[in-house]
Symmetry: C2
Subunit: 71 residues, 2 copies
DNA sequence: ATAAAATTACTGCTATAGCGGTAATAATAA
DNA sequence: TTATTATTACCGCTATAGCAGTAATTTTAT
């Protein structure tokens, strides 16, 4: 969990969606190289690009902290 | 919650930790400008830089999808 | 009030992420 | 097997995130 790798999750979801890296890249509006990088757990990718990929794959992001957060 | 802004969460946690933007930047090993950008919800920041800030503030990130994922 | 600290904003410069193109493997299908 | 598709890998080039420095503005003290 601490070092759970996002890359394999993305790859798994992409496969399940029946998409190639290129197709996912086009849907997310980014380059194929970046999709490849994300699946390789490259962390220097842009947050916006990662978000775009996650949205296409219907993966939600949640931020949690020990502090009570009444937003 | 769909478009909850991460920036204010970061800012709130930073304040609670009694840190200035500069101090947080130093602790995270990034520039003060980037901390400012993150709090302004700039999404083109690097994932690695965002992660560094979240770690300092003890904010965890979780990825969720409708597909059963046994992490 | 004035002073000090913090935040916001802007400016060049540098480093590098992102990109398409290409090529080489690897996996899948015929 | 061979052919097709997908993935991985590498290459220059370009765009821009990140940076320190600075200054203006805002906030928080005294």
């Amino acid at each position: 969990m601490s070092d759970f790798n996002l890359g394999s999750m993305v790859k798994d979801h992409r496969k399940r969606a029946g998409l190639t890296q290129l197709e996912l890249a086009n849907l997310a509006g980014i380059g194929k190289t970046t999709v490849f990088d994300i699946e390789k757990d490259k962390e220097t990718v842009r947050w916006s690009n990662l978000l775009a990929v996650l949205q296409v794959l219907n993966i939600a992001v949640e931020f949690k902290s020990p502090l009570a957060e009444n937003v």
